[in-house]
């Protein structure tokens, strides 16, 4: 569901599958813990994600806040998930690709 790839400059969080409420609740502390500990930028890779719940959108908001301005982005979203971010008013979190 979630795996991490970290370098000195970047924490890449790779999600997969259905990020529903239960799945997010199981991983949010782990994700936010790694985000807070990260020294570089943070990216959420959603290429393998097929569904996101409100909880996940909140995790994105919390991550953006924790990482600081310009240091967090969401990458590789499919069109369905991209639309979710746009409707939620979170389009600014999506990286330009």
């Amino acid at each position: 569901m979630v795996r991490f790839e970290e370098t000195e400059t970047k924490l890449l969080v790779i999600f997969s599958g259905k990020l529903d409420t239960l799945a997010c609740q199981a991983t949010d502390e782990q994700v936010l813990g790694r985000v807070r500990a990260a020294s570089g930028t943070v990216e959420f890779d959603l290429a393998e994600v097929e569904y996101v719940a409100s909880v996940f959108l909140r995790i994105c908001l919390q991550t953006a806040k924790a990482a600081g301005p310009g240091r967090f982005s969401v990458v590789r979203v499919n069109p369905v998930v991209k639309k979710v971010f746009m409707i939620a008013g979170l389009g600014s979190l999506l990286a330009e690709e």
Partner: protein, 478 residues
């Protein structure tokens, strides 16, 4: 903190609604339908408790009748919408090359009235869920507990089927400023405004698209071909329903001189009480607020016996309805206006033309576009009557309270939000339902207009060629 004094942050509420809208956009039809069914079942199963709560909190109406309203709002609405396609492709016309795709609108603000505080809430939630729109319930300030409870019950059931978090939110006591801030919020997609004229006007002035309702002032014409005992019985069923709180309930009976004896006798046989002139003045004084020019809240949803006591009239203790004979319609005749209580104005006319003219006056006296009613077995008369009225619903041989809301006495869509057309300052005369809460996208495939293709378009540039000539050439060789 109790529900009434609970405050809320408009920005936070709207952000939650926006997230819910985003998540909703991913749901397919099957998942959406499971959510709607769960919400309907929970609402239906709570119908009696919610009806009792509504009566207790508002002091209006009859709980047994509010149960029926709750049944309409849940079971009958569900039966009406359950098979409707509301996600993805909802229509295909190969010949015209058009494919219709349903998209949700986004967050909806639903204003609920004090007269139907649980049924309207459940109805609006069901049609919002069916169309994948998050909904914010703004209860009437006198019905916060019961409206919130109805919303909570449906929301929790929806969550049980993995509905988006915050797809239903309900607000506590809402100030005018907060209501305005919500209504004009940039992230709000639509206002479903069921309530008083002022509130509906605020919704329309907010800059956000709104579906409002107009006020009613329903005349019912008992015509000479009518089955009089049947007609009177139906009117009583309607006008006493929930102590007259339905905006589509009859407000004035119009009948012909030749029939009035029988009509009056039927009403009296069924417990109605005809007021004399002095008693009429007394009822006017308690039922109508002359300063505001509207019905008095003291009588709304109260039983006839209570209103009689309030007015100081010695009516029988089991009186079902107070009937006030009237001569004219207008400001000088308060009971010719809408009064949501078991009080009826009563007019006697000489024949059909006078009856229709009087019904037009009543219709235009505060009830344009809403509902009118006729009891008749003469198809020609029914058509003449209908053509003369400005009403979204022209009900025939039907109790108008139950008839206008659909699904019980006719096949109108079951609804607790009745459009009143442009006459009532509304966008539609429809009974509002799920299909009104969708944006329909149309894929339009190339289908060349053959007549235009074959037409010599250079003729458009020639000023000497007039419309008649173009029309002839345009349709040539068809």
């Amino acid at each position: 903190m109790d529900m009434e004094s609970k405050r809320f942050d408009v920005e936070e509420v709207m952000e939650r609604a926006a997230l819910a809208a985003a998540v909703f956009s991913q749901l397919d039809q099957e998942h959406t339908d499971r959510i709607v069914r769960a919400a309907y079942l929970a609402g239906f199963n709570a119908r009696v408790r919610l009806a009792k709560m509504a009566c207790e909190e508002t002091g209006l109406g009859i709980w047994q009748d509010k149960v029926i309203k709750n049944v309409l709002a849940t079971q009958l609405v569900y039966e009406d919408i359950k098979d409707e396609k509301t996600v993805g492709v909802i229509g295909e016309d190969h010949e015209r090359g058009i494919v219709e795709i349903a998209q949700p609108l986004g967050p909806i603000l639903a204003v609920a009235p004090v007269t139907n505080p649980t049924s309207t809430v459940m109805f609006k939630i069901l049609i919002a869920l069916k169309t994948r729109n998050p909904i914010l319930i703004r209860p009437h300030n006198r019905a916060i507990r019961c409206s919130s409870e109805a919303a909570r019950i449906l929301y929790e059931a929806a969550l049980g089927e993995d509905a988006p978090e915050d797809c239903v939110q309900w607000l506590g006591n809402t100030s005018r400023e907060e209501t305005h801030a919500l209504m004009s919020h940039k992230r709000l997609a639509l206002i479903l405004a069921t309530g008083g004229t002022g509130l509906v006007k605020s919704a329309y002035s907010s800059g956000t698209p709104a579906i409002g309702v107009g006020a009613g002032n329903v005349p019912v014409y008992i015509e000479r071909s009518a089955d009089i005992p049947f007609a009177v019985k139906q009117i009583l069923i309607s006008k006493t329903f929930d102590n007259g709180t339905v905006c589509a309930s009859e407000q004035a009976v119009v009948t012909e001189r030749a029939l009035t004896g029988q009509v009056m006798a039927e009403f009296q046989r069924r417990g109605a009480y005809f007021l004399n002139e002095e008693e009429t003045r007394k009822v006017e004084a308690v039922a109508f607020d002359r300063e505001q020019g509207v019905m008095s809240m003291d009588v709304v949803g109260q039983p006839a016996a209570h209103i009689a006591r309030l007015a100081g009239i010695e009516a029988p203790s089991d009186v079902t309805l107070l009937i006030a004979p009237q001569k004219k319609v207008g400001k000088g005749y308060p009971l010719s206006s809408e009064i949501l209580a078991p009080i009826l104005a009563y007019y006697v006319v000489e024949g059909l033309p006078e009856a229709i003219n009087l019904c037009i006056e009543l219709n235009y006296h505060g009830g344009i576009g809403h509902t009118v009613s006729i009891f008749s077995n003469d198809e020609e008369v029914i058509r003449q009557f209908a053509a003369a009225m400005n009403a979204g619903r022209i009900l025939v041989n039907t109790p108008s309270s139950q008839g206008a809301v659909g699904a019980i006495y006719n096949r109108l869509a079951p609804s607790l939000t009745l459009g009143c057309g442009t006459g009532g300052k509304n966008i539609t005369t429809d009974n509002i339902t799920a299909r009104h809460l969708l944006n329909i996208q149309r894929i339009a495939r190339r289908r060349v207009n053959e007549e235009l293709e074959l037409f010599d378009k250079s003729l458009y540039l020639d000023e000497s060629v007039d419309a008649a000539a173009v029309e002839k050439l345009y349709h040539r060789n068809r």
